[in-house]
Amino acid sequence: MTDKDMLFDYLLRLGDNSLILGQRLAEWCGHAPMLEEDLALTNIGLDLLGQARMFLSYAGEVEGKGRDEDRLAYFRDTKDWRNLLLLEQPNGDFAKTMARQFFFDSFQYLQFEALSNSSDDRLAGIAAKSCKEITYHRRHSSDWMIRLGDGTDESNERMQRAIDELWGYLPEMFEMDAVDDAMVADGIGADVAGLRTKWDAYVNGVLAEATLTRPEDSWSVRGSREGKHSEHLGYILAEMQFLPRAYPDAKW
């Protein structure tokens, strides 16, 4: 891979994370347990979509093959997507959606805080801007972890089940491969492996306050960086990409 290829891949990872999670949150529109949450989940989804647009536009320019944000969002197949496996997991119940959000918000906050010091000015600008929004996302999902964990017997049980089911998807967030190493060496990327201690401290604090039990590290899955995804991604893309693929020249 050339430096350019690596930066392209790196930007796809960031943009795809935001886009796929944003798409998942949009599925809650009209279905959330209360109106305020319907608004909150779609607002957060919209912030993520905004991030994705900035990253994918930039990725397209770096690649230099004339692909814009829409081309990258609508005309790539599963093997070309670079989002974390965690983010494509189905919404499940509200507890599972919130647990997934909490784990990712806590990670993304630290990742973007680091990226806001990137030697790549454009990447630093996107990260600094997004970090303010993620502050709100993380507070929202942390509050729900505590509210449901330290709530009724049923809400506690469902939240505990949610975190148990998602736990093995989390190590992938902190994985570093050749692209990450090269980006860190160039001062462009974030050393995500190095963020683990801070993430643990924050997450452990919230789990304790929520009277939830941190699961054992007994299993984990990985592969998104090589385009190896769960079957769920295909269904997301089918829904998200249908219109522009059926009517490639449509404008709306």
């Binding site: 607002n43 912030d47 600094a128």
Partner: protein
């Protein structure tokens, strides 16, 4: 060739562009206009900033700026969006804050990181009581939270700090 309008004129033209979602505010009140430049070829360059990453109003605002400039006979211009340094509610002018409150939206209460961390006291835009509570940190648009006043009992929007 049409003589270029002075920057002051452009500024007063841009002050006529309203925020599409909060129509009492101009884009100048919101602090969306970073600067006005003269391009190398002599054209007018308007540099703006998006507010929230995913705010759908951003594209409408660009289109509205273009329409307003054309309406005033300025046809040779470029609108450029820059995200850095990131827009902050601290850039809303005091005039903008006054208009927001009159309109029934509580203006951002704090400044800087403390406000972003949620340490803020929000006064009711109707009765001015500080005895209010947050209903949700997310509201009808990306920039607003939902509050209620515990004295006059009115629900209201709060323009949250970023």
């Amino acid at each position: 060739m049409v003589a270029l309008a002075a920057n002051d004129d452009i500024e007063s033209i841009l002050a006529l562009v309203k925020d599409p979602e909060i129509s009492v505010l101009s884009i100048a009140d919101l602090g969306i206009i970073r600067r006005i430049e003269e391009g190398e070829d002599g054209r007018v360059v308007v540099v703006i900033t998006p507010t929230y990453s995913g705010c759908p109003a951003t594209e409408v605002i660009e289109a509205d700026i273009a329409d307003m400039l054309k309406l005033h006979g300025i046809t040779d211009f470029e609108i450029r969006s820059e995200i850095s340094p990131a827009w902050t509610t601290d850039w809303i002018t005091s005039e903008g804050r006054r208009k927001l409150e009159e309109y029934g939206i509580a203006p951002p209460a704090g400044k800087g990181k403390a406000a972003l961390l949620g340490h803020e006291e929000v006064a009711c835009p109707q009765c001015k009581s500080a005895n209010t509570e947050q209903v949700s940190e997310f509201g009808s648009t990306a920039c607003k939270a939902q509050y209620r006043c515990l004295d006059c009992l009115e629900p209201f929007d709060y323009f949250k700090c970023v």
